[in-house]
Amino acid sequence: MAHPVDPSPPGHPGGASEGVCPITIFFDGKPISAQPGDTVASALYRCGVRIFSRSFKYHRPRGLLCGSGHCPNCLMTVDGIPNVRTCITRVHDGQKVRHQNATPSLENDWLSVSGFFSWLMPVGFYYKTFTHPLVWRGVEPLIRKVAGLGEVSPEPAADAGSESHPEHGSTGAGPAYAHIFWHTEVAVVGGGPAGLLAALQAARSGGRVVLIDDQPELGGHLRFQGKGRHSGEWVMPDGQDLSGLSGPDLARKMAEQVVKEPRIRVLQDSTCFGLYEGRLLGVLQKLAGGQRTANGSPSAGHSQALERLIYLRTQRLVVATGAYEALPLFENNDLPGVMLRSAAQRLAHLHGVQPGKRAVIVSEQADGGPVAADLKVAGVEIEAVIPRRELVSALGRKHIKGIRTTRGDLACDLLVLEGDRVPDAGLIAQAGGSLRWEEGQRAFLPGEMPPFVTVVGEAAGIQPNPEAPLPGPCSKKTFVCVCEDVTVKDLCDAVQEGFDHIQTLKRYSTVTMGPCQGRMCQLSSIAVCARQTGRAMEQTGTTTSRPPTLPISLGSLAGPRHHPVRRTPLHPCHEALGCTWMDMGDWKRPHHYPAPAAEPGASGHGATPAHTSTSHSHHLPTFVEAEYRAVRERVGIIDVSTLGRLDVRGKDAPKLLDKVYTNRLSDMKLGRVRHAALCDEAGILLDDGTVSRLAEDHYFITTSTGNIEFVQQWLEWWMAGAGWCVHVTNVTGGLAAVNVAGPKARETLAGLTGTSLETAAFPYMNCRQADVGGVPCLMLRIGFVGETGWELHFPAEYGEYLWDLVMKEGQPFGIGAFGVETQRLLRLEKKHVIVGVDTDATSNPMDADMAWVAKLDKEDFIGKAAILRFQARLATGQSERLVGFVMEDDSVPLDGSAVVHGGRPAGRVTSCRFSPSIGRGIGLAWIPSALAHAGRHFSIHVNGQLGQARVTFQPFYDPEGKRLRM
């Protein structure tokens, strides 16, 4: 419709639109001028746009209906964001608005033909048709194609929230979405007169109040009322009598008082979308001045967020959400030009737009009530005022041309309806309050409330809705639900088919499931259901109100997304060496370091493992080779600061550890270290690590990297209620750690410490508190990688210093840093199991060949009973076992490959690498225990073929463990 730009009606009463500076927005590419204070919808309406959308199913034309963000009719794509309610979205210069769900245009939508066949698509259409799978497979993609409303860019760029986005990271402009956490004594939701009064009263009685209102100005419905005197007595808590003022003046005066009150914090443009457990309110605030660029990020110069999600905890809640209007039922009630009173008033009063030329008003008041006066002032001719019961249908195809009444036809281009007032009870239901049907008011009203909730104003009670006959069960063009194109007939048919409970009726017909969240259709669908089933409204009941009460964007919910990256205190040292990083949980760890310069091109920067290839190469990558040689032949150093560390103290510490760990730890001598494992009650391995005894009542525990929080909680869980004196402290963040290992490890460290490192003084599996290079360290002599070595734990702040010192000291011995990949190979050669890599949520120590961790003669410990059963089962041969294996051929299966027995998968490889010391692929695998005998062969699936592997229970490297003890 290439409408000329309508001039504003003369002498319009609007206050907000009197600005000058012109704004241009683009509608489907066409420039349109708007006024400050306009919403997108009011600007478009002023320019003659009447069809704002096409309906979901039948593509029927739809115009402005509620004007207050409560229906699906004005959804458009604004600045790239789909499904934006244009009637509550303010304009800004350069804004790009596009229509949705219509091709080629809203005026002429090819798919609107589906409307003519709507009789062919009764309720439950898809369930009853295309039952043949092949037919459905053909039809389904077509249905998909035409479904949906707005469109989003297929490009995964354009992220407005992410901190790592280059646009935000460097320029200092914040992300578009913020989160903030508040608490208050009283939260008042709704800034109409009832909410304003409640806020003032609460503040007067000394409480801190947060007042939440979704409009740009306070005053609620008073703002868009006519200049006439507002009825009712209005005495403020301070005694000031405001009775007799006009609606807008009353709103202004009350708002002034609220704003002046220091104990009230006002959140304008803010929607409270949910009440969650623990009296938590979700509030979404649109921030002033926020303008989007096409990618949703704040436009240049805006460093603040556009939208802010407030997590608001409150002691008391006042619900003053008022009532909204729902669409009455009559034929063609969805035609553009059919408008609820709120929309007409807002257009006229807030935006100075003439809603039409010739109106019929549906009202129970003979003179049409205040809206008639309002329309007259806006220059609209009033054709007639009729009561609801006389209205039969709206006439017209793309826009209303007139109406049919019980007394004949009337011509008009605007039908203004006093809709059914519906108390806005979404939050009330979420609060756990009940709703009861009040026949006198013809509405569901709050019943019993939890003690912290008060409901005031129209949310608590309304002027009675008129009683109007429901349309007959065959009304095919009477829409109950404009979101989903559900008609009265659809509902009646569904009830007849047995969907006669409001919950099943909702799911079958999809009524109340659309973008309006049931605002337009809840009441009338209940009424239809009640009539068809012969039940009362009360019995029929309402559907569950689920948050959010208004649609909230994923961006706002996600907020500025901080994805923590944990870096060890030695991070800069690895960076300086040019390592390749890998993620391990939140941590960054060096996967490997570049190979020495002698072998160029092997640095493997950014190299990630070959994920989709089908087998490992049977040569070591050069970088691993070099790191491996350093450890096995000279000395290597690895950052193990990511290990979890717990400090456990107290006189009952031995008791706790004996109960929780499978080993016996109470009899450890001071200065000793033990490997220890944790199991759950079912004997499943949870974690392993080392336990060092530093004093009678003091242990130092390491856990695997990802498990620290879990182990801490596990210990705390088991001491809860025991009345023991134990303190478990997570000291992971405070400590750096390195492991220095290799034949030259002793020489390297000896130069840095006065503590003797000779085996006689400091044997394997012992620990000492020592001074290393002036840094207080806890040294554990352990041997994960199979060489003489020490794990040093020391204060994080000395991290880089000590690393550099050890590197310098080790240089004459040829020290080399090694990463996670080499460490995994080194430990695999020792056949050390990594819990969580080689075991899973069903593995127990017996089957995992770790029987030594469980001291079965110990009194009792978590998992003992189950482990005893597992032990007994070992003999029966009815389980899976974790075994070491050596490949008999050149292949090196990938981790995760299947073990095959009798042509079926019978197990899996958990770790496998090429072993330089064996010259073959070695690994760990779960296999049927029937096969788990040293020297037996089994098959592994490699690259489409079966590779032969041989079982071994010995470590592959230094089986006697001599090197560890040297």
Binding site: G80, I81, P82, N83, Y126, Y127, K128, F130, T131, H132, P133, W136, E140, K145, A147, G148, L149, E151, V152, P154, E155, P156, A157, A158, D159, A160, S162, Y276, E497, G498, H501, P515, R546, P547, P548, P551, S553, L554, G555, L557, A558, G559, R561, H563, M582, D583, T608, P609, H611, T612, A682, G683, A866, F870, R873, G896, S897, A898, G903, P905
Partner: protein, 403 residues
């Protein structure tokens, strides 16, 4: 023509004083069990008791992902059999359950995740289930809207692609089964709560309901999140704890995504329905509860991780969020069996976050167990006694977030 007939889907009945079998819980599992009792075994004197409306439990709250690419041989065979039954369901019931086998991708963001997927791919292939590991290029071809760049905190490295996986309309399954049961003469009793179970020595003898008492020799517990409460009535302890699981749905969009995307690292999964809505699911809540209230932190988490995968969705709005309560077993595998100590009492529970897809086969096997007394091979690994015998099944890695 069915399209224009408005015949009732299922009729209402007075509760009789005795039935051959009583099934507690009319979710997909209870309904499937009744359906197969009638269809395969001609047992039609059966009452299905549902304390609320039909589909009020998880069967009406789930995200309806169906697939067979599990990790253990037992799991794969079982879920594959279920998927096959779903494939035939629309024509068998004469009722379209809107099965859409659009393909299912489980993303890996770390090396170790890739290894976990490889275990599944290998087992799947040996058992004839189409599933394989693919790299970023192929992922991009299948899901061009996915962010495969290095921007996310955990970039996507690979995926397990399972072409026959997809989504189904959960309510349609419930209604379709209910209608078929009704046509066979099986009685469906909504708003009928089992409040007690009568025992006669070592056997069940009846069920007490809010609408009166029933005598029967066979009672099946198909109550998912309430399973442990029903078992309390007969003092059969279950190794089950109940956790809420949440999901949300957005406003309808034009076609954006036609695969099911699952990321265990990010604890999120996303798909788009035929109506255009994006359905987003989370991992289970961190604490046990029977509450079906949804929470804001979980909604935030679902949004956050969805945007890690699809940053361009930041302006797309969430319409609704909800929760169901999930009956979790220690090994993420179900319990389908009789109970040694109580004759006539059967369990089909422990469905946790993943049981919708299993409804048809679980129901069929349980029906066969009830009718013949023989345990079908497919469910042999899932007996209650396995916990006493320490024979866990080990589906945690494949079932956790992946539903």
């Amino acid at each position: 023509m069915q399209l224009f007939s408005h015949e009732r889907m299922w009729r209402s009945h007075e509760l009789k004083s005795r039935y051959d079998a009583v099934i507690i819980g009319a979710g997909v599992h209870g309904l499937a069990t009744a359906y197969y009792l009638g269809k395969d075994h001609g047992l039609r004197d059966v009452a299905l008791l549902e304390k609320s409306y039909l589909g009020a439990g998880n069967s009406g709250r789930n995200t309806a992902i169906v697939r067979a690419n599990y990790r253990t041989a037992e799991g794969v065979a079982f879920y594959d059999a279920s998927l096959k039954l779903y494939e035939e369901m629309s024509s068998e019931l004469g009722w379209n359950v809107l099965l859409n086998q659009c393909g299912h991708l489980t993303l890996a963001h770390t090396d170790s995740a890739i290894n976990g997927l490889r275990v599944r791919a290998e087992t799947n292939r040996f058992l004839g289930v189409d599933s394989r590991i693919i790299g970023p290029d192929e992922i991009h071809k299948l899901v061009p809207t996915l962010d495969l760049s290095r921007r996310p905190r955990y970039p996507i490295l690979a995926a397990l692609y399972h072409p026959p996986g997809g989504i189904i309309r959960h309510d349609a399954v419930v209604w379709g089964y209910a209608r078929a049961c009704d046509r066979m003469g099986i009685e469906i009793h909504p708003f009928t709560e089992a409040v007690g179970i009568r025992m006669d020595g070592q056997s069940v003898s009846g069920v007490v309901t809010n609408r009166g008492e029933i005598s029967t020799r066979v009672v099946a517990n198909c109550t998912a999140g309430w399973a442990s409460k029903v078992c309390q009535m007969v003092r059969v302890p279950l190794p089950i704890v109940t956790y809420p699981l949440q999901a949300c749905v957005t406003e309808p969009l034009k076609p954006f995504l036609d695969k099911v995307i699952v990321s265990a690292t990010l604890h999120v999964y996303v798909n788009q329905t035929d109506r255009g809505e994006l359905v987003i699911g989370a991992e289970i809540d961190p604490y046990q509860s029977y509450s079906m209230k949804s929470t804001l932190p979980t909604l935030e988490q679902m949004a956050t991780y969805t945007l890690e995968l699809f940053p361009q969705l930041h302006g797309v709005k969430v319409l609704r969020q909800w929760a169901g309560i999930c009956d979790m077993t220690p090994d993420f595998a179900p319990i389908i069996s009789g109970v040694e100590s109580l004759k006539g009492f059967y369990l089909d529970v422990g469905w946790g976050t993943y049981g919708f897809k299993a409804g048809p086969i679980a129901g069929r096997c349980l029906a066969s167990l009830i009718a013949t007394g023989e345990t079908p091979k497919l469910i042999a690994p899932f007996s209650l006694s396995r916990f006493r015998q320490d024979r866990l099944v080990g589906e945690k890695a494949a079932a956790a977030v992946s539903h």
